[in-house]
């Protein structure tokens, strides 16, 4: 697998670990447990302090007082954070996140995106780590655009009840455009190989 030979690809990333929290004190709580806090609304940061523009584990700020964290599937961090948060604290409340997650990438990814989303995602400045909350194929989604080789990959999360529909719809368009479905390990191994 490489972007050079694949028009577009789609990866199911639902098995990564994730949790959410919201409330006016959520940012302070994250700082207290040494999680990087994206300073701007609708932006993301690597979960581990770094400048990695294509980090997989991340913390995304949705609006001003809600946060969404995605970890490696086998990372204990999610359970540690969930335990620390418990049923909530003063003005910090846990948010169950059972999202369906997928990733779109490859040379033809922009053409796929153009067919399913009315937001001009290719124009997003990656250096600002933007998070976009919008509709894709009629489904409310959270999108993070990240650098990926010479191009971009788009990480997409949605309510799990729409997951079946969104996945099938996106996958059909990817296949129609000459691309294919990949496994997440396949993708990440390829990324490590490129490094």
């Amino acid at each position: 697998m490489s972007d050079a030979t694949t028009a577009a690809w789609i990866v199911d990333a639902s098995r990564l670990g994730r949790l959410g929290l919201k409330g006016p004190a959520a940012a302070d709580w994250l700082r207290s447990v040494r999680i990087p806090v994206p300073e701007r609304a609708n932006s993301w940061a690597p979960l581990v302090h770094s400048d990695d523009a294509s980090a997989w584990p991340l913390v995304a700020r949705l609006g001003t007082t809600e946060f969404f964290i995605e970890t490696e599937p086998d990372s204990p961090l999610r359970d540690d954070l969930a335990r620390a948060l418990g049923d909530g604290q003063d003005h910090v409340y846990p948010v169950l996140r059972e999202d369906h997650a997928c990733v779109l990438g490859g040379r033809g990814v922009e053409d796929v995106i153009a067919q399913v989303c009315s937001v001009n995602l290719p124009s997003l400045p990656l250096q600002l780590n933007p998070v976009v909350l919008t509709l894709m194929t009629g489904v409310a989604v959270v999108i993070v655009a990240q650098a990926h080789g010479d191009g971009r990959r788009y990480r997409i999360w949605c309510d799990p009840s729409f997951g079946h529909y969104l996945w099938n719809t996106l996958r059909a368009i990817v296949v129609e455009s000459g691309g294919d479905e990949l496994g997440i390990e396949q993708l990440r191994m390829a990324e490590r190989g490129q490094q």
């Binding site: 059972e98 309510d159 719809t169």
Partner: protein, 964 residues
């Protein structure tokens, strides 16, 4: 007759690649690069189809992508635009709107009956009810264009979005120039043109126009310009959002600035038989020649009223075509050197003559033009007529701007008397125009385009030079002020799409339809496939003259998308229908679920069982719940958490009940009304801790309720946070007298009645998964609603099924649940209530705590409680057998409608039909009998009874009373 000539410089056809096709069953041949119309023309086919109303023979008229005469049926696809669609191999092409084929069309008799089909025929024919069915059938059979074939291939038509700094619509000289200017300023430019190649009129209207060729090369090489060919802008929408129709898909473009350089559309003259095959527009003849190397005839006459007609003659002569005569509507200009040159080349010039009529040969095609000297009234005034033998009459008498997009964008369109053309006067921000569409002709178009491109780039935020030289609006008059000529025998067509004659417009105006909008609707002028591109201006000229006003005062009709006809499939795109599924969707499918939509969810209506009918399956599911265990997926319910010190206050204000005093670990029914006191949602509200509530909503109401609660919390400044968990949690209802036995080994929650009483909520593990359990009784049996994270749902579902197997567990669907809750007399919001029902009318007054300081709808309910109900929800039974009753069957009182059934079912448990009905309050007396009108009008007697129908004391929801 048209024919293919020797190679023409720049022709689009590839003579090395032949393409075979059939037309009306006749095998023919064209070249790769031909459009359908050109291939037919080259093959000598003169009659392409029949007209819409009178079935008159019609031929190529404009070759300009919107020619109603060139619509075809191809392999089951109707109304393919022959001028715009490339010829494909093995196309099976037939004419549209014929009865028995093009050559033997039986509909042609209508042409002889035209005097019985006056303007406004529809309105007059439909005036009486008695003949309506007759006329409806007759018109449906006789009119219309192509026919829809359900066997036509289904082709995907994706939609896409695109973005650019400057969108240029039209790739003629001015559009190309605008694109280059904007791109040179650094803007990302998208240029679109409806033709397969860039160049527009520069590619054919002036063969010597080398600057256009060079412009095309520059645009094609420019890295900042993307070009879309064979693409038209179908409509302009707010904020520079433009729908582009490409071959096979629609692209919605958002641009920062837009340059509209759509040029002009040549207009016909109106005279008797101006629709004969062989009569066409001069620009059409040039398109055919330069694109497809087709001569428009062997004996050509040109009808002229502008300079373009002379250029046309010169162009055709240069390519070896024979032009006999040029008939100019204008007087002779002795200084005209071009005219002198034409005469020198052998063309007879006749000035000051008007067409009287075109004459047809036996096949219905043009054989001659009859003309006469113009009189002082602008009509053929001399009795001495000349007959000019010809097989092609090319008209070049004027133009109309293609300003539809400008008008849609909000530009003010005025009328220039000097040009005899509509022109834009005022533009909305970010919208610019260039070239002939705004009255700038000839070489000035290129300068005009450059200025527009620079201005658009500046508007989009780029640095571009300001216009130094203003291009001249044409100093000449390209359009004749009244190229309309009357004849006592009529058939002088203004609108070829709809067969509208000049006399039709006269009659309509006389009948009082004397404004453009009224005239359009009464006569249907401009309402055909070309949307008035060849008829609106002439219709307006006629109207203005009849009213004795100028064209500027007559006004024009409103232009709306789409610019060309667009197949519905392009609008539908991929038909994204976002559907939700619960995490155990696949388990339902494996169990034979028959699906039904519930909001945007798919839910099992029931589970099919081999050898059993639907109703039997539902009864088996009901029986399982009443006697053993049933399991239903209720994950579609809205599921919301509210945290914070003001969580109870929010619920107190949003719902009619009181929740701030709800004990932790308990649930309470919640009813929501709107400001008018109308029931809008309900659910169960559980208190998890002092500052944390969890509650359910109806399946279809979750998003609305969540949004409203967010709004209210913000509006009231409450210190609480709302979390929508609808999709993130799965929920199952395990119900039936044996459900506790099945659940007990799976959970660490103490299920004993004293530890977990009716209406309590508990948290613990079920099948090893952290769960929230609510002991509720919607179906009227001992039951537990189990809520677990969606990712663990399969594990829990499988464990419940396995644990329940020894007790005869059976999954049940929505229909069984409806029967079960109906037996308990529970109403369903928006099925048993409607957009006017308040809680008092639905016997839910007990859920309204009027003594609270405030809740949404309280003021209205206070008034409604004093006024009394306007309708009342009641239970009824129908003893014995009879015709089946259905929801919405009417309750009849004497001759009046007194209500309707909202829910009804045959209850196997109770052995009778039960239901709920919303009826007039004066009839709502227990024990009274009411009449219900079933299908076919049969009246059924029903008895009003109190609810619940089943287990009115609620004993079965208590363990002691739950024995089988």
């Amino acid at each position: 007759m048209m024919y293919r000539v020797q190679r023409v410089a720049g022709e689009w056809i590839d003579r090395a690649r032949r393409i075979e096709f059939t037309f009306e069953g006749r095998p023919l041949e064209g070249f790769s690069g031909d459009c359908i119309s050109s291939a037919l023309a080259a093959a000598g086919v003169t009659i392409l189809g029949r007209s819409f109303k009178y079935h008159r023979p019609r031929g190529l008229f404009s070759a300009a992508n919107h020619d109603v005469n060139a619509l075809f049926q191809i392999d089951g696809i109707p109304n393919v635009r022959g001028d715009a669609v490339a010829l494909g191999p093995q196309f099976r092409i037939s004419a549209v709107n014929t009865i028995g084929g093009l050559a033997r069309d039986r509909g042609r008799l209508l042409d002889r009956l035209s005097r019985f089909l006056p303007v406004g025929f529809y309105y007059k024919a439909f005036h009486g009810k008695r003949l309506f069915p007759f006329w409806e059938r007759a018109i449906r059979r006789l009119s219309g264009l192509g026919s829809v074939s359900f066997a036509a291939p289904r082709t995907p038509t994706p939609k896409r979005y695109a973005f650019c700094d400057v969108l240029v619509i039209g790739a003629g000289p001015s559009g190309l120039s605008a694109a280059l200017a904007a791109a040179n300023a650094g803007a990302r430019v998208l240029i679109v043109d409806e033709n397969p190649r860039l160049g527009g009129s520069g590619a054919w209207a002036g063969a010597s126009d080398l600057s256009s060729v060079e412009l095309v090369h520059q645009v094609e090489r420019h890295a900042g310009i993307a070009a879309l060919h064979s693409t038209f802008a179908a409509g302009y929408y707010a904020d520079h959002f433009i729908a582009l129709i490409e071959p096979g898909r629609m692209t919605k473009v958002r641009a920062r600035a837009v340059v509209i350089a759509t040029g002009v559309i040549e207009q016909p003259a109106v005279f008797r038989n101006n629709d004969l095959p062989g009569v066409m527009l001069g620009s059409g003849a040039q398109r055919l020649l330069h694109r497809y190397a087709i001569a428009s005839g062997r004996r050509i006459v040109v009808l002229a009223a502008n300079r373009e007609a002379y250029a046309l003659c010169a162009d055709l002569l240069d390519h070896g075509l024979a032009i006999r005569t040029l008939v100019d509507l204008r007087p002779k200009d002795e200084s005209d050197r071009v005219a002198f040159e034409l005469e020198r080349r052998g063309v007879q010039l006749l000035h000051g003559f008007a067409p009287v009529e075109a004459l047809a040969d036996r096949s219905g095609c043009l054989r001659a033009l009859r003309i006469a000297a113009l009189g002082p009234d602008g009509q053929a005034g001399s009795p001495n007529m000349h007959e000019l033998s010809c097989d092609a009459l090319l008209m070049s008498v004027g133009f109309a701007p293609a300003c539809q997009l400008l008008a849609q964008a909000g530009a003010t369109i005025g009328f220039s008397e000097a040009l005899q053309q509509h022109v834009p006067r005022k533009y909305p921000d970010g919208v610019f125009a260039a070239g002939r569409v705004r009255g700038v002709y000839d070489q000035d178009r290129i300068l005009d385009g450059r200025n527009a491109g620079d201005a658009a780039a500046r508007f989009a935020g780029f640095e571009a030079p300001a216009a130094l030289t203003a291009p001249r609006v044409a100093a000449r008059r390209p359009s004749h002020p009244y190229p309309i000529f009357y004849h006592p025998r009529h058939k002088n067509f203004v609108d070829l799409d709809e067969d509208i004659q000049a006399k039709d417009l006269h009659d309509a105006t006389q009948e009082g339809f004397d404004s453009p909008e009224l005239l359009k609707r009464y006569t249907t002028v401009g309402m055909g496939p070309s949307q008035g591109k060849h008829s609106n201006v002439n219709a307006a000229r006629i109207l203005a003259r009849l009213r004795g006003i100028g064209l500027a005062d007559a006004g024009m009709t409103t232009t709306r998308p789409m610019f060309h006809p667009v197949a519905l499939k392009y609008l539908a795109g991929r038909s994204f229908q976002a559907e939700r599924a619960t995490p155990v969707y696949e388990r339902h499918a494996a169990l034979g679920a028959v699906w039904m939509p519930a909001g945007n969810w798919q839910r099992p209506e029931y589970y099919a069982s081999a050898g059993h009918a639907r109703i039997e399956c539902i009864e088996m599911e009901v029986r399982a719940v009443r006697t053993g265990i049933g399991l239903i997926d209720v994950g579609t319910l809205g599921k919301i958490e509210v945290h914070g010190p003001d969580a109870g206050t929010l619920l107190d204000r949003a719902y009619t009940g009181r929740f701030s005093d709800l004990r932790t670990g308990m649930t309470r029914y919640g009813l929501m009304v709107d400001e008018a006191g109308t029931i809008i949602d309900d659910g169960v509200i559980a208190r998890i801790s002092d500052r944390r509530f969890y509650f359910t909503t109806t399946t279809s109401g979750s998003a609305t309720v969540f949004r409203e609660l967010l709004r209210w919390a913000a509006l009231w400044g409450l210190d609480c946070a709302l979390i929508n968990l609808t999709g993130h949690l799965a929920a199952f209802n395990l119900a039936g007298p044996r459900c506790r036995d099945a659940l007990k080994p799976l959970t660490d929650v103490e299920l004993a009645d004293d530890a977990f009483p009716f209406l309590a909520v508990r948290e613990g593990a079920v099948a090893g998964v952290r769960a929230r359990l609510m002991r509720v009784g919607f179906v009227g049996e001992l039951g537990y609603e189990i809520h677990v994270p969606a990712g663990s749902a399969l594990q829990v579902w499988d464990a419940l099924i396995a644990a329940g197997r020894d007790f005869g567990v059976r999954p049940f669907g929505v229909e069984a649940q409806r029967v079960l809750r109906l037996e308990k007399g529970h109403f369903i919001v928006s099925q048993d209530t409607d957009g006017l029902t308040n809680p008092f009318e639905a016997h839910a007054g007990w859920a309204v705590k009027m003594q609270k300081p405030f809740f949404v709808g309280q003021r209205s309910l206070r008034m409604l409680s004093k006024r009394g109900p306007r309708q009342q929800l009641v239970g009824f039974t129908v003893p014995g057998a009879g015709p089946p009753l259905k929801e919405s069957h009417l309750v009849i009182d004497g001759a009046d409608i007194a209500g309707r059934i909202t829910s009804v079912a045959r209850s196997a448990t109770l052995g009778c039909t039960i239901g709920l009905a919303m009826i007039r309050p004066d009839l709502a007396r227990t024990g009274a009998s009411v009449s219900i009108r079933a299908d076919g009008g049969t009246l059924i007697d029903a008895v009003l009874v109190p609810t619940p129908f089943y287990d009115p004391e609620g004993r079965r929801q208590q363990p002691d009373g739950a024995g089988p």
